[in-house]
């Protein structure tokens, strides 16, 4: 038998905006059940890379394959239907609907009507919003809305989860809880996390990919990456200076 097909594989991915090269010849592989963090300073190309993975941007050249099936250039809903769950940087939730309705909309694509109620309750439990089930999402705090979105991603039962800055704007306690949720999800699914917050990365990360100026600078375990002098220069050094 040939070698195992990786869960996600991007090859020679390049994205240009006019004269700006946001992603330059990126090759990236993710295995089943892996938890990978993407870090890098602002403008390093993390978000652009993330958006090409989610179908929000079509790469200028290169290929992306999910279990061997090409996804570059597909519409967002088609990528979602293939089993990729996405949480965007700015919370994208149904603000005018209740928490329960938000989760239900994610659940109902896969669950039969009979399964839907229990499935919604299980997700509410996991994101600790059972008491807020009937609240309108717009009335919740920023951190809670982030959880609603994570809950929706989970509820759709994807095989790969992409999280763009899941801890952005959260309190320390909320961040800690989010890290716990992510570790729990990783028991059964592969996750890619784009994140700025190094404390958060330390709580969850196993392998880390560092982006710099549109390229992959280094890819290794979290300890080695944090010890790498180049990474300090481009990322941590700047953060300390700032």
């Amino acid at each position: 038998m040939a070698e195992l097909v990786p869960l996600l594989k991007a090859e020679h991915l390049t994205m240009r905006f006019g004269g700006v090269v946001a992603n330059d010849d990126i090759t990236f592989t993710l295995q089943e059940m892996e938890l990978r963090c993407l870090i890098g300073p602002n403008g390093a190309g993390k978000s652009t890379f993330f958006k090409t993975l989610t179908g929000q941007l079509v790469p200028t050249s290169g290929t992306i394959a999910f279990r061997g099936m090409p996804i570059a250039g597909k519409a967002s809903h088609e990528i979602a239907r293939m089993g990729i769950g996405i949480k965007t940087q700015v919370p994208n939730v149904f603000n005018g609907l209740s928490v329960r309705e938000n989760i239900w909309l994610a659940v109902r694509r896969k669950a039969t009507p009979r399964q839907q109620g229990p499935a919604v309750n299980a997700v509410l439990e996991m994101i600790r919003l059972t008491d807020y089930a009937d609240s309108i999402v717009a009335t919740l705090s920023h951190g809670q809305r982030q959880w609603v979105e994570i809950g929706m991603v989970l509820a759709a039962e994807p095989e790969l989860i992409l999280l763009d800055e899941p801890a952005a704007g959260m309190t320390d306690e909320e961040t800690f809880h989010t890290a716990a949720i992510i570790r729990e999800i990783n028991q059964t699914r592969a996750i890619v996390v784009v994140e700025h917050d190094m404390e958060f990365i330390k709580q969850i990360a196993k392998r880390v990919t560092v982006f710099h100026q549109g390229r992959v600078l280094v890819e290794d375990t979290v300890d080695k990456v944090l010890a790498d002098s180049r990474v300090r220069d481009v990322y941590l050094g700047k953060k300390v200076a700032a």
Partner: protein, 351 residues
């Protein structure tokens, strides 16, 4: 418990509406009945935009395009067939097909909201001018002369299904029109309670999230738009049945604007509000029209300004908020599948 109460209250309300529709012809004069029939036809038109704007998030400035197409489709078919049954069907199907073609290009072309407004407005103008320039014997479909600016007089009105010899009396016309209004209202309420309707509301709330969950917002909006077009077309047939006449003014911009005023006054994101807004505004316009003291458009503009400033949510949501405040037990939180309560916070953002 509250859900049972709501269901019971709604059932009672529907029964009362049916009784009222049945008894009205015995109570009021023929002239008033004809006027109510017109209002009911217009209220169906109001529902079509109330649905696609209030629940689908699609602000069409050209709902009269479908209304007019429905009216003309009915008139042409009724003259040719001399039977209203297939004509009514065509008045639904043709605008729906037109909405499908227009909607395909708008939504699958990813045209933004502002341009959607411009396109729908322009389409209405194009139809108005096209139909306006169809005077003369050359412009006929089958035996039906389009008549250009003068329109088409003596259009056969509704008859009993498949029985052209039995033409409906004004009372029967009222029952038909008001019955259609009630049926469309109930159908939309039902649709919005079903998963399909909740997906429509979800797409209005957040297209990006809907697509990331695997729903195709383009398709959902296109189907919403088609249903809105079909209802507007049916309203057009009801309108032509009322007057036995259709002219290019059915496509007029002022009517398009009036629908938006009905909904703003009655309450965006509700179905009952636009019906009430339509009847109230149309009554005022008719009253002023007969008095000739003030310019009706001036009054309409003033009403719109007053509502946007003082009651931006519209009549029905404001009344509902008042009731909620008076009855402490029935917080909006307990509204169940919250399609209605979901609509209210959106109202301000939709404009």
């Amino acid at each position: 418990m509250p859900r049972h109460y709501r269901l019971a209250a709604q059932t009672v309300a529907v029964l009362m509406a049916i009784v009222a529709i049945a008894l009205v012809p015995g109570v009021i004069e023929l002239f008033a009945l004809m006027q109510l029939t017109l209002f009911a036809a217009m209220a169906v038109l109001a529902l079509s935009l109330a649905f696609i704007w209030g629940f689908g998030g699609i602000l069409s400035f050209g709902q009269t395009a479908f209304f007019g197409l429905g009216g003309y489709a009915y008139a042409v078919a009724a003259i040719n067939f001399q039977d209203s049954t297939p004509a009514i069907l065509l008045a639904i199907v043709i605008p729906a097909l037109f909405a499908a073609i227009l909607g395909y290009f708008i939504f699958f072309g990813r045209i933004s909201d502002v341009y959607l407004g411009v396109i729908t407005l322009t389409v209405t103008l194009i139809l108005f001018n096209s139909v306006n320039s169809t005077s003369g014997d050359a412009y006929k479909i089958g035996t039906a002369l389009l008549g250009g600016f003068n329109g088409m007089p003596s259009v056969p009105t509704f008859n009993m299904p498949f029985d052209p010899s039995t033409v409906l009396s004004p009372e029967q016309s009222w029952w038909t029109t008001a019955g259609v209004l009630l049926a469309v209202f109930l159908m939309l309420r039902l649709l919005l309670a079903l998963p399909a309707g909740r997906i429509i509301v979800a797409v209005r709330e957040n297209e990006v999230r809907a697509s990331l969950l695997g729903y195709d917002p383009r398709l959902v909006k296109c189907l919403t738009f088609i249903l809105g077009g079909a209802i507007a077309g049916l309203a057009g047939a009801l309108y032509v049945n009322w007057g036995a006449f259709v002219s290019p003014t059915i496509f007029s911009l002022s009517l398009s604007a009036e629908i938006i005023i009905w909904i703003t006054v009655g309450g965006l994101g509700t179905l009952l509000g636009p019906i009430i807004g339509c009847v109230v505004i149309e009554y005022i316009v008719a009253y002023i029209g007969s008095q000739q003291l003030l310019n009706a458009n001036l009054v309409l503009g003033a009403v719109l300004v007053i509502f946007v400033l003082l009651l931006p949510k519209g009549l029905v949501p404001t009344a509902r908020d008042l009731v909620m405040r008076l009855i402490p037990d029935s917080k909006p939180k307990t509204n169940g599948p919250s399609v209605q309560s979901a609509a209210a916070p959106h109202a301000a953002g939709a404009e």
